[in-house]
Symmetry: C2
Amino acid sequence: MMRNIKIVAFDADDTLWANEDLFRQAEEQFCVLLAPYADKYAAKEELYSTEIKNLPLYGYGIKAFVLSMIETSLKISGNKIPSATIGEMINIGRTMLKQPVKLLPGTLTAFKTLSQKYKLVVATKGDLLDQERKLHKSGLTKYLHHIEIMSEKNIRGYKTLMARLGVMPQEFIMVGNSLKSDIMPVVKLGAKAVWIPYALTWQHENLNTGKLSHGFIKVDKIEDLLKIL
Amino acid sequence: MMRNIKIVAFDADDTLWANEDLFRQAEEQFCVLLAPYADKYAAKEELYSTEIKNLPLYGYGIKAFVLSMIETSLKISGNKIPSATIGEMINIGRTMLKQPVKLLPGTLTAFKTLSQKYKLVVATKGDLLDQERKLHKSGLTKYLHHIEIMSEKNIRGYKTLMARLGVMPQEFIMVGNSLKSDIMPVVKLGAKAVWIPYALTWQHENLNTGKLSHGFIKVDKIEDLLKIL
């Protein structure tokens, strides 16, 4: 058991519910639309590099992804992509935004149990409205003390969050699937972290785990939290 | 002078800096691009109705606006709009996102003076990353106790904000240019509000002022706050 913990904070996408799958499917659809102009591998690579280029300007989320798909399609096709196909990309985004939220197994049990002992927080990045809608659809909000939508999950962002919650790093534990966004900055601040790897990770969130020598716990599924908290 | 006030909260767009002008200019550019398919009036009307339809799905901000421009152009042209023209719409959005932030006259003086007596907060809606970037560029963050980016500025949103800040409605005053978003919900909660009309208001933010019989103060410019606070 861990002592002194007051706040248990959770990442949302791919920690509480599946999300990356949605983007992977959309990428596949994008490659099919681009097939007359580029092979699948080239289309994916170009889309990824457009997304990374646009990240400082657009941030995370589905709207940013759609704008990057359109921009990539114009570039790859030399502006020859039919307008109707661009309309299909907009529809891919609309479908993504309307997806139901499917909690990963064990999430509800973990929230019910942990909320009796700790203040639970969700700390996620991405599009404000979209993340709020997913949380609302998830049915988890009634267990939550606070929701923080961060523009970037870095040391500064977590420092601000802890200050806002009025806790010291040793009273804070973060749970998430991304070593880069959920684990590393939190460990660097002297707080605790639990890593629950997800089957799929966006290239941009990948991190050589060799860089992290210690300071966090790895579990296989969210219910394993009940053994340590 | 007002008693008991602890928090002075400010709207951002068109209260601290000009913003609506940017959208109006973009609309004009959009109409020029659409000129082969529709007259200016029809193009603007169709764009506005697309924006309103998309609001629950996309929320506020420049990315949402760009996606609505593209969708509108496909509809108006019957998918005949050249792809290169869609690329120009993406560029309009990029230019908007990169605009420098120009504070409205008197804003800095008001912030310097008021921050010595009150905790200052910015409560704004729109795109998370874009609003944070504008606040950073504005140079105002050093005077701020808290920044709240709200997905919707309604009664529920302001209630959450006051709870987060630990203040009662009578200790809270909101300053903004939109009767619908900045004044009405705040007055309904029993808090105080100061309306500073801006030369331009987005159609969606317009409100028949007859509905608001009392409960707020109207001033002409932000420096007038120093006479009442």
